[in-house]
Amino acid sequence: MCGAKEGGLSLDGVNVAKEAVIQGQVLRGEEPVPNAYVRLLDRSGEFTAEVPTSATGHFRFFAGDGEWTLRTLAPKAQPVDTRVVAATGSVAEVQVLVSA
């Protein structure tokens, strides 16, 4: 479905054609991190939104077209910045690795 990886977060109930979805999973090694916070920063570095990760380390944003930065904060780890490009009608899948 529009670039969503197998095994990614389910897109049931999401009208992908109308949204610029950014989603993914936060991992420490191979383990999902359920208590991390993912912040969405716009092209100027301005905070736009933040979500806590789910029990399986997943997160999702409905962004707009363009370049974004994901800033991930997890306990006992340095913040991790990840650049991502979103486009309406597609799903940008991102895997974030935090320090072990």
Partner: protein, 282 residues
């Protein structure tokens, strides 16, 4: 008000988990967050069901608020400490709400749930039991709540602080980027409103910035200290946090939160709207 009597640290909360007369309350945008684990002894308020009338678009009335807090075991003389996720977004809303109904001793846990979790402090699934009380609320304090007509009349007259993200303010997005894009009929902002995204009030770990940093933030956008202020966002929650900063931390006198916010204003017929990154003319 000041930082000393409106904010407490995570360490203070941990040190006072068993102190009588202190009630911890979690209020989260994600109303299931509490159920996945919460600070020991904390009770939950669900902003979508407990704090909103379920028929009209409005808050629960005085009697409903009294019944709610009585049933949850909160007393008038309790110190209420609120916390939640997302930089205390909805906890700040609940703080404003408790003030609206006259609760005297309310505080926010600085950094909220995120700071608590990033500190690796303990969360529990255990549900507390509290004896029922007989809570008495005051009539709503409208000196801190703005309505739509007052907001329209404030264009070019009062400080209007729009705390949404720059893309929502400019009209490029209709809702925060982690929510499906829906809501108001029109995008944009109230003419002459200044954009100070609510997130600028906080550090990355969710704690509030220092008073000096906050003063500089509002001075930089040109807030006029001699004028009254109305804060607004999309549904009045993020602007509660900015209301908290201006009124409770920085001590501005006449600050109101417009809870109708953009979902109401952006659906009104005939009111002026400005598109783009500039405040626009009255």
């Amino acid at each position: 008000m000041s930082r000393e009597n409106s904010l407490v640290t995570a360490q203070w909360v941990e040190d006072n988990l068993d102190t009588d007369g202190i009630v911890l309350i979690e209020v989260d945008e994600d109303t299931t967050a509490y159920d996945k684990g919460h600070i020991r002894g904390a009770i939950k308020l669900d902003w979508t069901t407990d704090l909103q009338d379920q028929v009209r678009r409005d808050f629960v009335d005085k009697e409903q608020f009294e019944a709610l807090l009585s049933e949850r075991g909160v007393s008038n003389d309790d110190t209420v400490v609120l916390y939640g996720g997302n930089n205390n977004w909805f906890a700040a809303y609940a703080y404003w709400y408790f003030k609206l109904y006259g609760h005297s001793d309310v505080k926010l846990l600085d950094g909220g749930r995120k700071k608590w979790e990033l500190d690796s402090r303990e969360l529990t699934d255990a549900l507390p039991t509290r004896e029922k009380t007989s809570y008495t609320a005051t009539e709503q304090d409208h000196s801190i709540r703005a309505f739509r007509d007052e907001t329209v009349a404030a264009i070019g007259v009062k400080n209007l602080i729009d705390v949404r993200s720059p893309d929502e303010y400019a009209g490029r997005l209709l809702a925060p980027a982690h929510l499906p894009q829906e809501q108001s009929q029109r995008a944009g902002h109230v003419p002459t409103s200044l954009n100070v995204p609510w997130s600028k009030n906080c550090n990355d770990d969710g704690t509030f910035k220092s008073d000096d940093e906050l003063k500089a933030l509002y001075a930089e956008v040109g807030i006029d200290d001699s004028k009254d202020t109305i804060a607004l966002c999309r549904i009045g929650e993020r602007s509660s946090l900015t209301w908290f900063v201006l009124k409770e931390l920085l001590g501005h006198q006449n600050v109101k939160n417009y809870d109708g916010s953009w979902t109401e204003y952006g659906s009104l017929v005939g009111v002026p709207i400005t598109l783009g990154d500039e405040p626009g003319e009255a």
